[in-house]
């Protein structure tokens, strides 16, 4: 009997996976829930349901289910990732960055477990999630800072009412605040709209094909650097010419640009917003 119910629950899960791949997440949730009703000891059932909640942007349920999966199996790498992602999403609406930071810790733990379990396949996925999370944290922190400063200015201004001399001091103080943190002026309005203002990423870090930072920068014969997958596809479709100069090149010469990769990582650490950056993006709509 026990064996039979176990098989039945697996059947429900498999059907759920089918609906998931069809992108019908409601139906998939229904089937995973049935599987859980029969057998509530299988972490995969919970994690798969959590992933459906992620797709439906029901982040509190995503959090609960992925946490349950961790409780059932504390070496479940994937569950740590999904749980961390839920925390970051939930943290967007908080007044501090605590939840986001907790989410980042979960992902770092998952990364550590990858090394320990020697599971390379999740590594890239976690790195991407971490960069997205750092970006969201940057936006949140910027929003908090500018709210704090605005509130501070408002309070001081109230206390200094009608004192012309003090107003001058106040003006100088505000100028000082702007100088010490260049983000302040720029983010005053942005914080209200949750919209980024225009920022520039240096051209030398950008692939001219993808118009984005490079994951795998490679130098080709012309001396220019491109994203590896993009330049390979370009050779295949448009022939063996450099996209910028149009000169003929040998498509077999592709040299990994390690220093540019390092420069990109260095730049991203200091400018987390630059990851997958699109001018005018709304950070609340930027999802994990």
């Amino acid at each position: 009997m026990a064996q039979e119910t176990k098989e039945l629950s697996i059947q429900f899960k498999d059907q759920g996976n089918l609906w998931y791949s069809q992108k019908d997440y409601q139906k998939a949730i229904e089937l995973y829930s049935r599987a859980i009703m029969i057998n509530d000891n299988n972490p995969t059932f919970y994690l798969n349901r959590a992933k459906c909640f992620k797709m439906l942007k029901t982040f509190d349920k995503q959090y609960q289910d992925s946490l349950k999966a961790i409780e059932l199996d504390d070496s479940y790498i994937k569950a740590y990732i999904v749980n961390g992602e839920a925390l970051v999403e939930l943290g967007k609406n908080d007044k501090n960055t605590a939840k986001i930071e907790k989410g980042i810790l979960r992902m770092k733990k998952a990364l550590n477990m990858c090394f320990k379990q020697n599971q390379k396949n999740f590594e890239k996925e976690i790195q991407t999630s971490l960069k997205k999370a750092e970006k969201i944290k940057w936006y949140k922190q910027t929003e908090i800072d500018s709210h704090d400063k605005e509130r501070l200015m408002y309070q001081i201004r109230g206390k200094m009412d009608n004192h012309q001399d003090d107003q001058d001091i106040l003006g100088r103080f505000e100028k000082y605040l702007n100088q010490t943190d260049p983000r302040y002026e720029e983010t005053k309005n942005q914080a209200r709209e949750h919209r980024s203002t225009h920022k520039e990423i240096p051209d030398f870090l950008i692939c001219r094909i993808t118009d984005d930072l490079m994951e795998q920068p490679v130098v080709i014969q012309s001396g220019f650097t491109y994203e590896k997958s993009a330049i390979l596809k370009h050779f295949q479709i448009n022939g063996n010419i450099d996209p910028i100069t149009r000169q003929s090149v040998d498509p077999n010469i592709l040299i990994p640009n390690h220093y540019l990769k390092q420069a990109t990582e260095y730049y991203l650490e200091r400018n987390p917003w630059a990851f997958q950056y699109i001018p005018g993006e709304l950070y609340l709509q930027y999802h994990m």
Binding site: H198, T210, D211, D212, A230, K233, N238, I241, I278, P279
Partner: protein
């Protein structure tokens, strides 16, 4: 691949809005962003002075590695390299396409192609060509690029 193409298109849209304000007017036709209309005015001092033209860009998922399909919609300009069905004979749109080009660069080069014309004149084989180009994507037409302006 899909995500890459959309990311670049969003950046290009932002670039046109920020850096070509008053020159190019962008109208994104469908929600998936794969079809754009770009309106511009014939240059002052050219034979098209003040006339308004609309280019239609259709992007594939492999854009920008694969070239966009670019034609005039509405009334096309009377030009020796523009057919009355809106098809444009310009090598950068076909064999000379490179992914370093953008919508703004393509539009500006078409604008400059128009500006260098001294007379309004349809292509010599216009009527005949339009018949055999029927139901054919401009990217599938065997273009003969006759001169360096083309």
């Amino acid at each position: 691949m899909q995500a890459r193409c959309l990311g670049r298109l969003k950046k290009e849209a932002e670039d046109i809005r920020n850096n070509f304000d008053g020159v190019l007017e962008l109208d994104i036709k469908d929600e998936s962003q794969m079809c754009w209309h770009v309106r511009f005015r014939g240059a002052e001092g050219s034979v098209y002075n003040g006339e308004v033209f609309t280019l239609q860009f259709k992007f594939s998922e492999d854009y920008p590695i694969e070239s966009p399909e670019v034609i005039f919609v509405g009334i096309p300009p009377e030009h020796e390299h523009v057919y009355s069905n809106g098809y444009i004979c310009l090598s950068t749109l076909y064999s000379d396409w490179t992914p370093a080009l953008k919508v703004s660069a393509v539009t500006m080069s078409i604008l400059s192609m128009l500006s260098s014309a001294v007379v309004k004149q349809k292509p010599a084989n216009d009527a005949q060509a339009v018949v055999w180009m029927k139901n054919k994507s401009p990217k599938k037409v065997n273009w003969m690029f006759e001169d360096d302006k083309c």
